[in-house]
Symmetry: C7
Subunit: 75 residues, 7 copies
């Protein structure tokens, strides 16, 4: 992963990010770490796919090949 | 990513690009950065998939394997 | 697999993790080992996809490309 | 990309090519560049998927993994 | 394939394993060999996808990218 | 691509081959070249998917990951 | 492809093998060659997907990523 995406991800560590996954799931959590495959570690994760029924998922590892979009927190 | 695509992307940094993703989503945003996998960083991104309901998405990282087409700004 | 995910996985060895697989299956088992492709070895695994009918699967090797999410145990 | 395909693509630079993409889309445009992944840069691109409603798309980068077939211009 | 999965597979050679494949097929057979892609060689294989109609398949090579889960024999 | 397939392809250059693609399309054309990814260059190509309506496609580059089967000419 | 599968394939050269492909097609033919991607060359191939209508396909190259299972001849 080159500098542009990695720089944003590094700035987002410890902050809340929104992840959209292949298959339609959306997750929100505090970014704890990431790697060059966009494997992600989130803390205090919520599954917000269904906004009427948000699920608490705690700490998660997401395999990077499932990721479509990562939204860092507004600056 | 060889020179042809990278040259267009380099010229497009700081400008508005249109991205078509696998699954039918279309995004428009200011290109902040990219890498050899076509991972992209966009600012001031809008989801324009449904032109009747454009969503503001702010800054985004797009994992490159989801990209079909990138339209740079007209020159 | 870089440090963030590997560190969580290392801390989870010998503990119960929840795995969500592509295709909708969910498994719960004691993590015995893992590798850089997220190939996983689980012991005392249960298929909890249908919570009305939990299946005992014993020891399993999961090929990493099927993994969406790994939930380590709460700390 | 070995010599056979690359030679045809090199001869096609500056000329109009037809591209068939996975998912059914067909594009026609002037080939500006390409690389070993078959990432393509097209100018003056038209989406000709629906021949009753051709869309002007201008300059495009196509990520190579979406490409099924490239038709170079007749010689 | 790192040590955890390979160790289980090595211990399973000559023993009966259960394989679940993408697409829903389940096979049971004696593991004769494997490699780092999880390509597998099974002997005396049975297709147990439909438990009302078990098919004898003899010796098989399974291409690893089709594998979801390998269940080694109970210890 | 190892010797077995490459040898058949080398012997088929300049001759008519039949190509079956993922998605159901069948093409017939004179093989002009190929590479180790099974990217193919065909001349005088016909789309014979619908035998009631054969389409002339001329020279084509086929990206190898779309290929299921290549039938060389009878010897 | 490590030794286990390659050994079986080497022993099967010149003999009839059964190939099951992604998408449901089954082929039977004499194995002429193979490589480390499981690209296969078959002679005197028959499409036996529909056992009521077996089709003669002659010599074929199968791109390895389409292969699910290879059944060598009984020993």
């Amino acid at each position: 992963m080159a500098e542009a995406a990695a720089k944003i991800l590094e700035e987002s560590v410890g902050k809340t990010v929104l992840i959209r996954l292949k298959g339609g799931r959306s997750l929100r959590g505090k970014l704890q770490g990431f790697d060059q495959h966009m494997n992600l570690v989130l803390e205090d994760t919520e599954d917000i796919s269904d906004t009427n029924s948000i699920q608490q998922l705690g700490t998660l590892i997401i395999r990077g090949d499932n990721v479509i979009i990562i939204s860092p927190p507004p600056r």
